[in-house]
Amino acid sequence: MTLLVGKHTRAIVQGITGNQGAFHTRLMIDYGTQIVAGVTPGKGGTVSQGVPVFDTVASALEKTDANASIIFVPAPFAKEAGMEAIDAGLNPVVIITEMIPARDSMVLMAYAREHGATIVGPNTPGVITPGEAKLGIMPGDVFAPGGIGLASRSGTLTYEIASYLTHAGIGQSTCLGIGGDPVTGLNFVDVLKMFRDDKSTNAVVLIGEIGGSAEEDAASYIAETHYPKPVAAYVAGRAAPPGKRMGHAGAIITGTEGTADAKMKRFREVGVLVAEVPSELPRLLQQQRTAVVQH
């Protein structure tokens, strides 16, 4: 089984004619992703990166058999772009756009829930199934096929950690960014459920950061469900001062809540292997594997 994206994915790029949209469409195609159409209002009938461009998602679906979307449109238009994709039945919908107002994200996520659509992001590097396809802006060459399911709140840090794993000979089943915003579609708990049911995933890596309670919620879920697969984690931002937004809209310690230390402690309490520095993760996963074999 391939999670979220794979060879079966036939994606529409919303915002295909913008700088980022065009550039990453090219890279996604080069990686082997099927990009069947692009959408930019007012540019219907043109071609971008060898892909036909339409004015609306609905008109793109009259001519193609797309089943997923990736969105690059500017923040003020992202909510409607997401709704348009959901209305057309596309699933998943990956939203790369950052700086979307929280109110727009709340409404969009409610709409997605109503329609049973999966939203990845916003403010995400996207999703990759190494060796098959990617809907995202991540550099494909740091990933390799294998058994680790990886979910993260950050972009570059995901690439950093994926490259450690790949260099250590530990491949990945699916890697995805849940997004750096306060309100996102998938959260860690949703992703843990997916990885639990995915036969190609045998261990999970979570990359958290300060702010919110996504990590604490994941820890509670792991404990309550006696999560059947090993989980390792790294939480960024131990050195972050309270009350300051560290780059991501969602990365802020409010009061005494959301600190990296509290999140790491909570993970340890439920048996998650916690890395002090990102480069420790491959060793933790290898030790885990050896321990399992010895049992």
Binding site: I100, R103, V142, A236, K244, M246, P278
Partner: protein, 379 residues
């Protein structure tokens, strides 16, 4: 963007939300005159963006205008948690029957807004939240349909109100919600929300935080957003003007990287090896040479920085652009502090060549680079 109490209250008044009668003063004499105008006893409140001003002595009372002038003078000379007090709000002292707490927060986990309310309002609300969380009630608001009258009534009922008082409190909560919608607030909070002896509900204090990501659709805040907030250090203000995500810290190792998560992890790693970061600086994805040069100049201009760690894992960003930015700084103003550069990813060979040509060696591994910059031995 945090608004001052007086700003939040002026927006609230436009929606018919009860606030105490009062006025804003920048000088002790103005404070005295406001007291003369409103009469009775007054409260003098420091206008700062940091929380906890009450415990810091930023709220005082005046029974006569002359006393108000003296108290205002004291508060106007205060600095609260690093923030200089520039204005005081002079307000009539309310006849308090009960102090409530009412807020509408962005509930990240539930992807909606949630009303938090309690009948134990006042300056100790954080202790209440910690010690008896059951005393704070939560009521989620549907993000599509918004707060309905009965949502607010349920909250009022749970706080123990009936009859006319229930209706008044319901109106107030509904209006606080409208305030949050109109101004895209990630937080609207009234603490205390006062029930007066006369049976009115008044927002004795009011805080409003506007979602920064929504500022593009709020022309009314355009000028306000440009003002340098006292929460931001001059260095942070300069960096942010130049489009950098920047937070000043108190160490001596300047940090520049691409991607918020990576930069946070860089700070952690520097700390882990015993160093102290001087800042968080994210140049973002796809930064060009000019942007990198600006960032580097801002970091090396900080007198407490004595060495700099540049950590680039290039995806959209290109290592050669980063390298060109560093070369530009060397040419134009010179490299003033020792530099450790870690580079990997897109166009890394070109980047390395460019930097080697000006005598800078690059490392590929983040761990090694962090240890080198901290001064520990490279493993």
């Amino acid at each position: 963007m945090k608004l001052f109490e007086y700003e939040s209250k002026s927006l609230a008044q436009n929606l018919g939300i009860n606030t105490p009668r009062g006025g804003l003063a920048s000088t002790p004499d103005e404070a005295r005159d406001i007291h003369k105008r409103i009469g009775g006893e007054v409260v003098i409140k420091a206008q700062v963006l940091v929380a906890g001003r009450g415990k810091a002595g930023g709220i005082k009372f005046g029974s006569k205008p002359e006393e108000t002038r003296d108290r205002a003078s004291e508060i106007l000379s205060m600095t609260i948690k690093g923030e200089k007090v520039k204005k005081v709000l002079i307000e009539q002292k309310l006849n308090i029957k009960k102090e409530l707490f009412g807020s509408i927060v962005l509930d990240r986990a539930n992807k909606c807004q949630t009303v938090l309310a309690s009948d134990q309002g006042g300056i100790d609300i954080e202790d209440v939240a910690k010690q008896s969380p059951e005393k704070i009630l939560h009521h989620r608001i549907d993000p599509v349909f918004g707060m309905r009258g009965y949502d607010a009534r349920q909250v009022g009922l749970k706080l123990g109100y009936t009859g006319q008082r229930l209706n008044s409190l319901t109106d107030l909560l509904s209006n606080l919600y409208r305030l949050s919608v109109i101004y895209d607030a990630e937080l609207v909070e009234s603490n205390p929300l006062v029930e007066t002896n006369e049976g009115k509900f008044v927002t004795a204090d009011l805080r409003l935080i506007v979602d920064d990501n929504s500022l593009f659709r709020h022309p009314e805040f355009q000028e306000r957003a440009k003002e340098v907030s006292s929460e931001v250090t001059p260095l942070e203000a300069k960096a942010r003007e130049n489009g950098l995500a920047f937070v000043e810290l108190d160490g001596d190792i300047g940090i520049m990287g691409n991607g918020a998560g990576l930069v946070m992890a860089t700070l952690d790693m520097v700390n882990h090896y015993g160093g102290k970061p001087a800042n968080f600086c994210d140049v973002g994805g796809g930064a060009n040479a000019e942007h990198v040069a600006t960032a580097l100049q801002i970091i090396q201009g900080d007198p407490k920085v004595n060495r700099i760690f540049v950590n680039i894992l290039a995806g959209i960003t290109r290592c050669d652009e980063v390298a060109k930015g560093i070369v530009d700084v060397k040419k134009v103003v010179g490299l003033k502090k020792p530099l450790v550069v870690r580079m990997q990813g897109t166009n890394f060979e070109e980047g390395k060549k460019i930097l080697n040509s000006i005598g800078i060696t690059t490392l590929e591994k983040m761990d090694e680079a962090a240890q080198l910059v901290v001064g520990s031995k490279v493993a």
